[in-house]
């Protein structure tokens, strides 16, 4: 009888255990589409055996643990690939905008410079013609507008990047706080011997998201808490406390700061990774460079045209007339050409003021017009490039940046997907696997029930021995 009772007991444990295992499988199936979910597995182990009349007899089965599958290599790789992908992906938007501005179609600064010089060339055939003179003024006006619009658009992109950064801040801070809270919860759960599987999954997801936005690096301390640092080494989450990212606007400018309790540190592109690095590079390196080149182009155009124009004589016999308002020319440390594009302006207001001639009372004199038209093919910028070529170099720079970002982005996305697939193959939920487990545990459950009914029959038989 004691043997039957213990068999009954073993059957009972098996029934419970298979039920539990089925539950775990069911949970896996439910979470088949949950991002970041790691497959869980019920670890079955036999109850300790009992010595019974010189034999060791098993006492059934129990669920020793519910384990979450994990692969730290894959997790770390995913983190890295997310950071690279984030960096390149974030550049795509602003770079596409820049490509639109520095296009190679018929509506860019190069085309306006062309048509500007073309109007001078045409004026040279009939220098006293007021219609042609007005045409020069109109085309110059368009050129000035084009410079100003381009300058404005560069600033708009910069503001758009700043707003994008600002918009991401609150989500990042929330994530950092959630991560710190999870650190705390996991540590306290796991010291009491439980496995905080769901919390760990969530924490991994947060780390990966932070990698994509900030390119963060992580290390796990002895208490199982994940510490998150920015690529430059500044801490973002330390154990169960999170630092805060802040953005400070001053006019159009935007400064990112990391608040470390009492102090705060200014963040530059080199402190960051992921999407933030990509955006900061565009905003702090590429756009200022383009802006400076645009200013230099405007400055060179204005000063060179003025130099020739002021040497000529207009229809009213005046000389020394500037064609463009002289650019502001700030002193060091600013470059002399800074701000030239946005302040470019026509100084002449009507066709009579165009200094076409080199000598007075000579309406038919086209020599100064020819001198100005000739500037188009002269290497004016730094004595090395023509105005059009200088614009080309700006457009090719944007093109290079953009094509490179596209190339790296495609590669990074590929690598990220590969890594995500690798993660799936290691720790993901496969429906086939779960279905087979389902069958397996169902059969186990059925067999346990069979065992119970068999034992029951045996006890019945035993009880009917005496009637």
């Amino acid at each position: 009888m004691p043997g039957l009772i213990s068999a009954l007991n073993a059957g009972e444990t098996s029934l419970y255990t298979h039920q539990k295992a089925l539950e775990v499988t069911g949970n896996n199936i439910s979470n088949v589409n949950t991002p970041g979910y790691s497959r869980q597995e019920a670890i079955l182990s036999p109850y300790p055996t009992l010595n019974f009349g010189g034999y060791f007899i098993g006492q059934g089965v129990r669920v020793a643990d519910i384990q979450r599958q994990h692969d730290s290599f894959v997790a770390r790789q995913l983190q890295e690939k997310s950071a690279t992908f984030g960096e390149q992906d974030s550049k795509a938007g602003p770079l596409a905008e820049l490509e639109r501005i520095f296009n190679i179609g018929e509506n860019n600064i190069a085309a306006s410079i062309d048509s500007f010089f073309d109007s001078w060339q045409e004026l040279s055939t009939d220098p006293s013609n007021l219609v042609l003179r007005d045409q020069v003024i109109q085309r110059s006006g368009l050129l000035v507008d084009n410079f100003r619009t381009t300058d404005q658009e560069l600033k708009t992109i910069q503001r758009y990047v700043n707003e994008t950064l600002d918009g991401k801040l609150s989500a990042i801070n929330t994530k950092a706080q959630e991560l710190a809270a999870l650190n705390n919860r996991i540590a306290s759960l796991e010291t009491s011997g439980q496995m905080a599987n769901t919390q760990r999954d969530r924490r991994d997801v947060l780390v990966q998201e932070l990698s994509q936005t900030l390119g963060v690096q992580t290390y796990t301390d002895n208490a199982g808490m994940v510490n998150v640092t920015l690529p430059g080494g500044l801490p973002l989450v330390q154990a169960d406390s999170a630092m805060t990212l802040q953005g400070v606007w001053s006019g159009q400018d935007y400064q990112l700061k990391l608040s470390l309790g009492n102090t705060s540190i200014d963040l530059e592109a080199r402190h960051l990774g992921g999407e933030f690095k990509g955006l900061m590079e565009v905003k702090d390196t590429l756009i200022p460079d383009l802006q400076s080149r645009l200013d230099k182009l405007a400055y060179t155009l204005a000063t060179e045209i003025n130099a020739v124009h002021s040497g000529g004589i207009d229809l009213n016999n005046n000389t020394g007339i500037n064609f463009f308002t002289p650019p502001p020319s700030p002193g060091p440390p600013a470059n002399i050409w800074d701000g030239a594009a946005s302040s470019l302006q026509l100084a002449v207001s009507n066709g009579f003021q165009i200094a076409a001639a080199s000598s007075p009372n000579a309406p038919g004199d086209n020599s100064n017009v020819l001198a100005i038209a000739g500037l188009a093919s002269q290497k004016l910028v730094d004595g090395a490039t023509t105005l059009i070529d200088y614009y080309s170099s700006m457009a090719s720079k944007v093109g290079l940046e953009s094509s490179q970002a596209k190339l790296v982005r495609v590669g990074a996305e590929d690598a990220l997907v590969q890594m995500q697939n690798l993660r799936e193959s290691r720790v993901g939920v496969s429906l086939e696997q779960e279905m087979i487990d389902l069958i397996r545990f169902q059969r186990g459950f059925e067999a346990s029930a069979k065992l119970l009914s068999t034992v029951d029959e045996m006890m019945e038989t035993l009880l009917t021995v005496k009637r």
Partner: protein, 321 residues
């Protein structure tokens, strides 16, 4: 290794995304016919494209300028041909005055005819085109020649312009021929200044050059000789008419040569323009046959990928248990 549902769908999604992108690119390529429509399509050809495009525009402009130049040269030539005819007529009249045995009455008539020819030449010298004086150099609004009201044959002095029978009103500094730019840095003269043509002052110093002729003075002196019935003086002056006609012919051939040069330069520029357009096309135009073939290929591949994606759900363990 196992392939989960996520793996399969994620991979298909990426594949379809990439293929869709490529398809879009090829469609844009086929629709625009341009293989470079953004700087990132080929950063290295941005500079040649913008450069060549500027050169094509410039070639168009030069062609138009040369057209204008040819028109101007033709106008000048037209005036010079009438001037030559006038000088030939003057020579005939002078010859007939020497050899004709005319009575004084007829001589006066011949002198009047010479005076008419001179007046006609003054009109030619003051000819206007498009509202501007053709022979006034840069001072195109100044009437270049006026008859000298204080002219006196006795005080006529070739070294003093103020004593000339017809005065030149254009400032010497502005007495420059019309120059047009027909290719970068290359200019061509399409006009003549009145003083070089009519006064023989090619070096622009205000007085008739040695060996050149003040055509108005020549005609005035012939007229005076005929009116005075001085056959010796007329004979002596006959050569100067020839010289004056030669001076006009020489300058006319110069303008003619320049016109011919313009015409050949125009042909040359047309060829250059075609070459430039070919270069531009090589840089920015797509090979349409290749593009369309690629497009068809990509569409087929995309269709196949869509087909596969749709079939993924058909194959499931759930159907078998």
């Amino acid at each position: 290794m196992k392939a989960t549902q996520w793996t399969t769908y994620r991979s298909m999604q990426l594949q379809l995304g990439t293929m869709g992108d490529r398809l879009h690119e090829l469609r844009t390529l086929a629709a625009t016919g341009k293989k470079v429509s953004r700087p990132s399509d080929d950063p290295s050809s941005v500079r040649p494209i913008l450069d060549v495009r500027a050169q094509v525009r410039l070639a168009d402009r030069y062609l138009e300028t040369m057209g204008t130049g040819l028109d101007r040269a033709k106008v000048v030539e037209g005036h010079m041909s009438s001037m030559e005819n006038a000088l030939v007529r003057a020579k005939e009249l002078a010859l007939s005055a020497v050899n004709g045995g005319y009575d004084p009455q007829s001589m006066a008539t011949v002198a009047d005819q010479i005076a008419n020819i001179r007046a006609q030449l003054v009109d030619t010298a003051n000819a206007r085109f498009d509202g501007k004086y053709v022979f006034a150099g840069y001072e195109e609004q100044t009437k270049p020649f006026t008859v000298n009201p204080t002219y006196n044959p006795a005080t006529y002095n070739p070294a003093n312009p103020a004593t000339y029978p017809v005065l030149y009103n254009v400032g010497l500094a502005n007495s420059q021929p019309n120059m047009l730019e027909i290719s970068p840095g290359e200019t061509v003269q399409v006009g003549l200044t009145g003083n070089s043509l009519f006064l023989g002052d090619a070096d622009n110093d205000g007085v008739t050059d040695p060996g050149a002729y003040d055509i108005f003075a020549v005609l005035t002196q012939i007229e005076e000789a005929i009116r005075a019935d001085d056959k010796t003086a007329i004979s002596a002056k006959l050569d100067t008419i020839d010289g004056a006609a030669d001076q006009a012919r020489r300058l006319r051939s110069k303008i003619g040569n320049n016109a011919a040069r313009l015409e050949s330069a125009m042909q040359q520029m047309e060829i250059t323009k075609i070459d430039l357009k070919e270069t531009l096309s090589r840089y920015e135009d797509a090979d349409l046959i290749e593009t369309l073939t690629d497009l068809t290929q990509q569409e087929t591949a995309f269709e196949a990928a869509l087909n596969i994606t749709a079939k993924i759900s058909e194959l499931s363990i759930l159907k078998f248990i």
